[in-house]
């Protein structure tokens, strides 16, 4: 029983770690607590859901308008940076917005196989992260920190409530999804079993006293593969080096010929994509997707990031796992109504007693 509950904790912890990485990367590079990160997680889950099950025309139109706006922002910014011509950038933005808007509209009305919608949703969420940075955070990069933090709260409010307008406040679930099952983990199941049954209720992997559903295995594998990939990206590639350089000193990085804006955009894109993956996986695992899911998950993941030492990527991964296990232990000891409090307690005590986190080096205080 204990082992089983610990497994649950590790599964949720892996998801927290994926989200926490997004907080910590952004904090590392622009020293901003990105309050909107939880909303990106929620948006990823909703877009994946919208693509896999058939949406109402209102939901499809809302999602399409929103995606179109994102496409406009990102395309406009990239084109303006590259060509310097405003009309060209506007044309490009308009074209991108129309294309993506129509594609999302069609995609929401149709039913798309789960793996494809998964990738599309992750891509859209990455775009959302980049667009938020361009619209809300970039103009404030030289303002007092308080200004950017308040803006981040505003972005989070707007996104969460926009999702409520488009999708309503009720719980949504992937359970309705029965189409296109053949593409996903269906090989050994009898004819007529739904995708849902296959993934969640179907196969269990037995290892001694432990039994693990396919979905749990999938979450753990995906999360660990992505975190390994991220670690390699940051430590072994030129892009990772540029990211670390920007985190250390943006002026020096610029002098070395690094396009700082581009690196920041990529950081937001990667962090948001990982958050969206976590959102979809948790949405499947918990079997509920709702506009407020990003708030709670965001708080837990932020605590995990603080626990590991904010700005420290391996620290965020460890912090996520520790927090997940701690919460599952609270359930084991029948303190489940207090389990959310563990995140806050961990957060407060780590900040007071060891602000650099479990794995963080003592950072110099920046003014």
């Amino acid at each position: 029983m204990l082992a089983q509950i610990l497994l649950l904790g590790v599964t949720m912890g892996a998801a927290y770690a994926l989200i926490a990485v997004g907080y910590t990367m952004v904090y590392g590079i622009i020293e901003l607590i990105n309050f909107a990160h939880g909303e990106i997680y929620m948006y990823g889950a909703f877009m994946c859901l919208a693509f896999t099950i058939a949406s109402t025309p209102f939901q499809a139109a809302g999602a399409a308008l929103f995606a179109g706006a994102l496409a406009w922002v990102v395309a406009f910014d990239r084109m303006l940076e590259r060509s310097g011509s405003k009309p060209l950038a506007q044309g490009c933005g308009l074209a991108a917005a129309l294309t993506l808007g129509l594609a999302v509209y069609g995609g929401c009305l149709a039913r798309i196989p789960f793996p494809v919608s998964f990738l599309l949703a992750v891509g859209l969420a990455a775009m959302l992260g980049v667009a938020i940075e361009i619209v809300a955070y970039r103009p404030l990069r030289d303002s007092p920190r308080l200004t950017a933090l308040i803006t981040a709260i505003g972005v989070s409010l707007v996104l969460q409530n926009l999702a409520q307008v488009i999708w309503s406040a009720e719980n949504h679930t992937f359970r309705k999804y029965d189409a296109h099952p053949a593409l996903f983990l269906r090989q050994n199941m009898p004819e007529g079993t739904s995708f849902w049954q296959t993934l969640v209720e179907g196969h269990y992997l037995q290892a001694g006293p432990l039994s693990m559903s396919l979905l749990q295995a999938f979450i753990l594998l995906t999360a660990f593969a992505l975190m390994l990939g991220l670690h390699l990206l940051v430590t072994r590639t030129k892009l990772g080096m540029a990211m670390r350089a920007c985190a250390q000193d943006q002026v020096a990085a610029r002098l070395m010929g690094i396009d700082v804006n581009r690196v920041i955009s990529i950081t937001f894109a990667i962090g948001s994509a990982l958050g969206a993956v976590a959102g979809i996986l948790v949405g499947l695992y918990r079997d509920e997707i709702k506009p407020t899911m990003g708030y709670q998950a965001g708080v837990f993941a932020f605590s995990a990031a603080v626990l590991g030492g904010i700005g420290n990527i391996p620290g965020a991964m460890v912090g996520g796992l520790v927090l997940g296990v701690a919460q599952s232990l609270a359930i084991y000891w029948e303190l489940s109504e207090w389990s959310t409090g563990i995140a806050y307690l961990v957060m407060i005590s780590v900040i007071i007693l060891r602000p650099a986190g479990l794995m963080g080096a003592q950072l110099p205080r920046k003014s």
Binding site: V158, L162, E337, Y344
Partner: protein
């Protein structure tokens, strides 16, 4: 009261701080019950209550420049403390109110002393976590707070044998106005005091302030305790006015709402903060789905197409737009406005 206020204003500088402005405001506000409209008075009570809270938060975020994301935690502590004092311990409202405020100050000191040495972001997060813990405790400490179902039938204030009633809110309105005047008076005094100047120095440059001999931790903790006391006082009033307490009145979104009032009116500016609170409370009323539906019905907009979440989208957008184009607020305090202008000039 009038005379004291005049004195407060004479010792400070700046035309807008003249006592006549505040006296005129209070006098005008005192005329509202003449309309006899209890809906208007209800809105007025909320505007005054949120002004008190926003002025309290303004000490931290406006005067000291520290973002407090859990201010509502003190509001909640004050509300539940007053409820427990009045119902469980049978104390009168007039005793429970200062006790609740003192308890708020105590909690402010206990939370502030270890955390105020942290840099801004960490402080914001600790306060946020604190307010979430307050909610969790009010939900689960059933023996004292009556748990998640809420605290019912909180006693009303009794003054010279007259018991206040919710449905004829005139008495509550004047109580709110009195507490509001007290808060404004204290804030004006604080702003032009040695304490206030120390806070402004901390806001503008911590290192320079420390070099000038300002005890950072002491002054910040004092500020936090005073802010918390006003939050708790507002909570005690709210407990008695609403008659029931439920944890959902003390969520993070309320903290954001109060922050929004401070930011919109102008960080550090007392009249600005009051303006921001009044505007946002009015907007909250205007953006209620049923009021919006009534206003838009002549244009042929069906009520069903008006989303209930609109007001939060507006608040969020307000925060973003204000921070981008008018970070010093609608009625800025001179120093804050100068600071933001300086930042903008020095930006490349």
């Amino acid at each position: 009261m009038t005379q004291r206020k005049g004195k407060a204003a004479r010792s400070s500088s700046g035309a807008w701080r003249a006592p006549w402005g505040w006296l005129a405001f209070v006098a005008a506000a005192a005329c509202l019950p003449l309309t006899g409209n209890s809906y208007l008075m209800g809105v007025g009570i909320y505007a005054l209550l949120f002004s008190i809270l926003a002025m309290g938060l303004n000490i931290m975020t406006g005067f000291c420049g520290l973002l407090d994301l859990g201010y509502v935690g003190f509001y909640g502590i004050g509300a539940y403390a007053a409820a427990v004092f009045m119902n469980t311990h049978e104390l009168s409202f007039w005793v429970a109110l200062p006790l609740a405020a003192a308890l708020g100050a105590l909690w402010g000191t206990m939370l502030g002393a270890p955390t105020l040495r942290l840099t801004g972001d960490y402080f914001a997060i600790v306060t946020f976590g604190f307010s979430e813990l307050v909610i969790l405790i009010t939900r689960n400490w059933t023996s004292v707070t009556k748990g998640a179902r809420g605290f019912p039938d909180i006693h009303k204030p009794v003054l010279f044998g007259y018991e206040f009633v919710r449905f004829n809110p005139t008495a509550f309105y004047f109580l709110a106005l009195a507490l509001f005047s007290l808060t404004v008076f204290v804030m004006l005094r604080l702003e032009s005091s040695r304490l206030g100047r120390a806070w402004f120095a901390i806001r503008e440059d911590e290192i320079a302030a420390e070099a000038c001999g300002i005890n950072l931790r002491g002054y910040k903790t004092l500020g936090f305790a005073i802010a918390a006391a006003f939050g708790a006082m507002g909570g005690a009033f709210y407990a008695s006015f609403s008659g029931t307490l439920h944890w959902s009145a003390f969520t993070f979104s309320e903290s954001v709402l109060i922050l929004c009032m401070v930011v919109m009116g102008g960080l550090g500016s007392i009249p600005g903060v009051v303006l921001g609170s009044c505007l946002l409370v009015m907007m909250q009323e205007g953006l209620r789905p049923q009021n919006l539906a009534a206003a838009l019905a002549p244009l042929g907009v069906p009520a069903s197409s008006i989303p209930g979440e609109l007001r939060w989208i507006v608040y969020g957008a307000l925060l973003i737009l204000m921070m981008r184009w008018r970070p010093a607020g609608l009625w800025p305090q001179k120093n804050v406005a100068a600071e933001f202008a300086e930042e903008a000039d020095s930006a490349p």
